[in-house]
């Protein structure tokens, strides 16, 4: 009889607490979104599974000595995983649309207002009892508006590690929801005539320009914003490997094997932060709400800036492409293309939207650098 009792005590059933059950449900929810709805499956699947593993009673995945504890410690606490992902993203990014039309950088800059406005909003939330965000917390939450997963994780791991799970989940969920969040904002701020504007074809860009570009960006970051160089540096290394044409093997590895391996472990490590005591708080609700606001404001500012540029250029720029300024590559650019096609079935904006889209990646890395330097 005593043996049976001991056995019962070592089962999961006897040891579940309510929080763990809820968090496992959240984990299953993420798996559902990834597998059935195909929302960012590459990340939500390992994150959801990590959430399951971390809430298993008695298994101790996240205790010192557990697998997820080490993965988190090695990859995220040190900031290594998001930087490696950034290298892979750099190797996948083609900057020619931006080099051909550098003014698109202004759109990438305008969309970053979402980040800084949310920073203000996060502090304002302190007025509601139950919220106590410090400036560092607020900065880490605000970067969700940069719509860039690795940047958000990198900054959160430096500024507010205890909020990392909620921030990463919010960032990736909203990136998956870009096709739902952005179009209403884009349509509200433009009229049908503006949405039909056709843009001139972009000039071809020489290989030499593409090689010099990442070096130039890195050099500018070294001179003026060294705190952004971990992100910008890895990004530029990846991009240089892609464009220089002499290390195809490395470039292919960065684009495929490396980024895939890191994605698995990054997802698991983020999932390990979805434990009941850290995630089931009123702060998480606040973070989810602020993330949506950040996305909305970023999109709106990008579109408004594009409208301004359209006016100044005499109607040569379609204001829709401003929405792509909130990185979320390449989803945001695809959304722009789709909304443009709805107004004019012959107007393909995809290549034009890639310019502000990759500018947004640079913009959010720069914004992260500023927050790291000043908070």
């Amino acid at each position: 009889m005593e043996g049976l009792m001991t056995l019962w005590q070592s089962t999961g059933l006897a040891n579940f607490v309510l929080g763990q059950v809820i968090m496992m449900t959240v984990g299953f929810g993420l798996l559902y979104l990834a597998i059935v709805k195909k929302f960012e499956p590459l990340l939500l699947l390992p994150i959801g599974f990590g959430a399951l593993l971390t809430n298993i009673p008695l298994a101790g995945f996240t205790d010192a000595g557990g697998l997820l504890h080490y993965i988190y410690y090695i990859g995220i606490e040190t900031g290594v995983f998001p930087l490696l992902i950034f290298m892979g993203v750099g190797a996948m990014t083609d900057f020619s649309a931006l080099i051909a039309n550098p003014k698109m950088l202004l759109l990438g800059a305008a969309a970053q207002f979402g980040i800084f406005a949310t920073l203000f909003g996060a502090i304002l939330l302190n007025l509601i009892p139950g919220f106590e965000f410090t400036l560092a917390d607020a900065a880490a939450i605000a970067i969700i508006g940069g719509a860039d997963g690795p940047t958000a994780i990198f900054l959160a791991s430096k500024l507010a590690p205890e909020l990392l799970g909620a921030i990463a989940v919010a960032a990736y969920s909203y990136m998956a929801l870009v096709p739902i969040i952005q179009p209403p904002i884009m349509k509200a701020l433009t009229n049908n005539e503006e949405r039909q504007i056709q843009m001139e074809q972009l000039r071809p860009v020489s290989q030499r320009e593409k090689i010099i570009f990442p070096l130039m960006v890195l050099f500018a970051a070294i001179l003026f914003l060294p705190s952004a160089t971990p992100l910008v540096g890895c990004f530029c290394l990846g991009n240089l490997m892609r464009e220089c044409g002499v290390v195809d093997r490395l470039s292919k590895t960065a684009q495929n094997e490396m980024i895939n391996i890191v994605t698995i472990f990054l997802g698991l490590a983020v999932g390990s932060k979805l434990s009941a005591d850290q995630f089931l708080t009123v702060e998480t609700l606040g973070i989810l709400a602020l993330g949506a606001v950040a996305f909305g404001i970023g999109t709106a500012c990008g579109v408004l800036m594009a409208k301004l540029m359209s006016r100044l250029s005499g109607g040569k720029i379609n204001p829709l492409i401003g929405a792509a300024g909130v990185s979320a590559v390449p989803m945001a650019a695809r959304v722009v293309n789709k909304v443009g096609l709805e107004s004019n079935p012959h107007n393909f904006l995809l290549m034009h939207a890639m310019g502000p889209n990759v500018a947004g990646v640079l913009g959010s890395a720069v914004a992260a650098g500023i927050l790291l330097a000043l908070v």
């Binding site: 920073l119 203000f120 502090i123 400036l135 010099i212 913009g363 500023i370 927050l371």
Partner: protein, 81 residues
């Protein structure tokens, strides 16, 4: 409460400085890119690879000559049967 207004002040300050720096940095990049296009843009080196391919292609003709020889020998043998 006073703490909160301090924080709000900090946040507003950060917002201002942040946006100015983001615009300044990316604006600087615009200038750099335009300068770069002026000096390095324009001509598109389309076929820098061709010279590298040429020695290979002589190899290829040698190889295809061998293959042709092998095939004609096979046909010859077949007809002889």
């Amino acid at each position: 409460m006073e703490n909160l207004s301090n924080l709000l002040g900090d946040a507003a300050n950060l917002m201002l400085v942040g946006m100015v720096v983001v615009f300044a940095f990316l604006g600087l990049l615009i200038i750099c890119i335009e300068l770069m296009s002026k000096f390095f843009g324009g001509e598109i080196e389309t076929k820098p690879v061709q010279s590298a391919i040429r020695p290979n292609s002589t190899n290829d003709t040698a190889r295809s000559a061998k293959i042709t020889a092998a095939i004609s020998a096979a046909i010859h043998q077949h007809r002889q049967k």
